[in-house]
Amino acid sequence: MALQMFVTFSPWNCLLLLVALEYSKASSDVNESANSTAQHAPNAWFAASSSEPDERISVFELDYDYVQIPYEVTLWILLASLAKIGFHLYHRLPGLMPESCLLILVGALVGGIIFGTDHKSPPVMDSSIYFLYLLPPIVLEGGYFMPTRPFFENIGSILWWAVLGALINALGIGLSLYLICQVQAFGLGDVNLLQNLLFGSLISAVDPVAVLAVFEEARVNEQLYMMIFGEALLNDGITVVLYNILIAFTKMHKFEDIEPVDILAGCARFIIVGVGGVMFGIVFGFISAFITRFTQNISAIEPLIVFMFSYLSYLAAETLYLSGILAITACAVTMKKYVEENVSQTSYTTIKYFMKMLSSVSETLIFIFMGVSTVGKNHEWNWAFVCFTLAFCQIWRAISVFALFYVSNQFRTFPFSIKDQCIIFYSGVRGAGSFSLAFLLPLSLFPRKKMFVTATLVVIYFTVFIQGITIGPLVRYLDVKKTNKKESINEELHIRLMDHLKAGIEDVCGHWSHYQVRDKFKKFDHRYLRKILIRENLPKSSIVSLYKKLEMKQAIEMVETGILSSTAFSIPHQAQRIQEIKRLSPEDVESIRDILTCNMYQVRQRTLSYNKYNLKPQTSEKQAKEILIRRQNTLRESMRKGHSLPWGKPAGTKNIRYLSFPYGNPQSAGRDTRAAGFSDDDGSNPGSPSIMFSARSRIRSLQKQQAQEIIPMKSLHRGGKILSFGYQRSTSQEEYMCGSRRVALRPKPLFHSVDEEGESGGESEGEAFTVRSRWTTDRGHGRDYHRSHSPLLQRK
């Protein structure tokens, strides 16, 4: 099978690259003409003569030093990418272990090679490279992909948990280790309190998002998800702030010089750094949103603006010794809402993918550095320190989780269960952040830096591998599973029905949270911010709309012909077995059950889903599209027949399945004026009912690999205006699309406006777009017209 070949090919390819690397490195070390076996070293050049300078013009030359750094970096990144490809080819693997495991292994491998060939690894990660180049993309990606509505809904708990959790962990681990160091037997007497505290702060930098992919299917509820995400987001910032403050303390050489005043100053600085960073981020976010308002004609620079402003916020904050991480996070969060509405569709996709790419490159490089320093001579192993570090990490995390959540549960509407808390405790996986901070400890201040690095590496390896691999089974075990007995067909059907029903009623109920603050923000946002920051909506050229119409037409055709001729569809093979079904036979029952399980529509997931390493299209988009297309068919058919869809009357004789749709109110009024500036053109076709069909969208990734796929819905108004809005596969909230009063004519769906924050109690402000579809009973207008007037779906 091609798959297997590819799998075997890929490690072979890796090997090829490695050998190439080795050869080129070896030859560079030797630095003379090398008769390397040419077919393995694609970049090897032959030196004709090397010993005497200026003798002859050499035909081939080798100059490895010139390209060494970029060459090796590129090879590393490529190697990691190939490993990732291999990782995902075996599709069960991502569910077993987090992708960080893989990256660490690759890093260790590269480290091993470099060590083995005695090569001086050229780019050593130093402080400036890390803080200026490697860290910002990672943080930016976290901030950008954060789902804002649940974040702000739970912000109290998240702040409480992230800030206090980090502090408790840092101080707790530091102090405990200090006590251990006091014990003479371990030979750690020279590690003073400050150093221990610093170590504590850097080791408490967790990266729990890395494990999220592992327990995706276990239906982690939204709040839990948000806590983990929020913690990951803020944890980096807090840890780095703490780290910097403690480094500043350490630089005050004499321990006795530190007075209580300094400690208070440290605390004050902590707060100022944090809050100041956030302020900076918000300001920059608004500026960049404002600028994207004017970029309609050069949409190619839109991603550039987004990235540059985020980076600028980071740098500006760092200049003033404020927390750049928090700045860039706040910038991303602020910017996202407005920028997404303003930028073109392709820019949006570019931004998303580029962000993922940058952050994944950064992380890969950090892990490679980690691998390189693992397999090296610069270790100092101290049993006591390492073991106690590990133990204290777990202990203090447990203490902080259970204590803090106990307190915050008193104030929450939906308290976290013990099971949730266990999951949060166990997801305390360390990642690249801790390693970087440990690696960057100044040797002058930390004579025992090597020991710290070793301990950090051990903790990282332990948590990533052991905890990362076992958290999946643990979560699945904790999850209340149905008994595995076979359910009857009845039960299956009814269960699914009830799931759908529950999801539907949840949607009717909407989201509840602290209304007032959000209301006020929404009103403020609407009245002022959006006017300033969101682009004016201009009609787009008709070619764009034509293109969209065509795509939609095709989509509808496809489904329609599929429905009409059932052979055209790929029938699942189980179905093919069952051509003639007899009643009551057990294997038929089996196959019926199989058909049901495979083919029933999935229930809409309300929980979030985020994959740190990947942006994959959602397969559930297809389902949403299908349902909507079928509804449109239903509507159209019922209009054609000129009567409302009967409840309880047999459906049409054609082999078309409809979703029954109640006859909508024929009034075209009742639409919020703000929702669309439609002119009411009902006059020409008095008999035709118009059905309001509205949709909202939200951005939330549903299942495993998510990425935001949008289904814009468009409807061509009679006046030739195109109303387009995006529709995205569901989840919980209602958002609003483009609250502006103007008819939005843009080629790209407005789903972005519908970010999670769209939710509010003040939903009277035109949350949804109402699309008016005109149905003509008169078929003479032809299908094009007909179809063009129906809400159409387009897959982006």
Partner: protein
């Protein structure tokens, strides 16, 4: 909008609604807020169109039926008590409900009432029975387009057969209840936030 405490006063007949549905005061306030948010033109009641504007219902295969369930007896509008009455079916069952005064009417979120609500989603003509045809219709709604009509009919046949005990070719409410006796309906049809 005023403070929260005066909010409850805005809801008419709040006490009788509370007694009937069992919702807490806070939940009722929230639901009222939601009701007003859905009611775009401040009519004081909800029409089908208001509910249809909930986007997520559009991609729910049962969306239309759910909306329809809010309008019993063919009415075109649903007021707040009616709205809450439907949602009360999804209130989580708490222990205090179980040892109720037997003279009081069964709470809306009892298992029987929950099942009855689900039953009514199937039984559109309200004859108290799910005919094979109605089952087929529901199946059509819930299954993707790849499944052929014959397969669906077989499934519908089988489903009715399994549950039908008195052989009338339809599933009555009792038979429906019986076929689901092993299922944890209370948990499946409860929404946590509706306390």
């Amino acid at each position: 909008m005023g403070s929260r405490s005066s909010h409850a006063a805005v809801i008419p007949n709040v006490d009788s609604i509370r007694r009937e549905t069992g919702f807490s005061q806070a939940s009722l306030v929230r639901l009222h807020h939601r009701f007003r948010a859905l009611d775009r033109n401040k009519k004081g009641y909800l029409s089908r169109m208001d509910l249809q504007q909930i986007g997520a219902l559009a991609v729910n295969p049962l969306g239309d039926r759910i909306i329809e369930s809010f309008f019993p007896n063919g009415s075109q509008r649903v007021d707040f008590p009616g709205f809450v009455r439907v949602l009360a079916h999804f209130r989580p069952v708490e222990d205090e409900d179980t040892d109720q005064d037997p003279k009081k009417p069964e709470p809306l979120n009892s298992r029987r009432n929950k099942l009855h609500y689900a039953f009514q989603l199937y039984d559109l003509d309200r004859d108290g029975k799910i005919s094979r045809h109605e089952m087929l219709q529901v199946l059509r709604l819930m299954v993707g387009v790849q499944v052929t009509e014959e397969q669906l009919e077989n499934i519908a046949d089988r489903t009715v057969q399994e549950a039908d005990e008195d052989g009338d070719g339809a599933v009555s409410f009792l038979e429906f209840t019986k076929s689901l006796e092993k299922m944890d309906v209370e948990q499946k049809m409860s929404i946590r936030i509706l306390k």
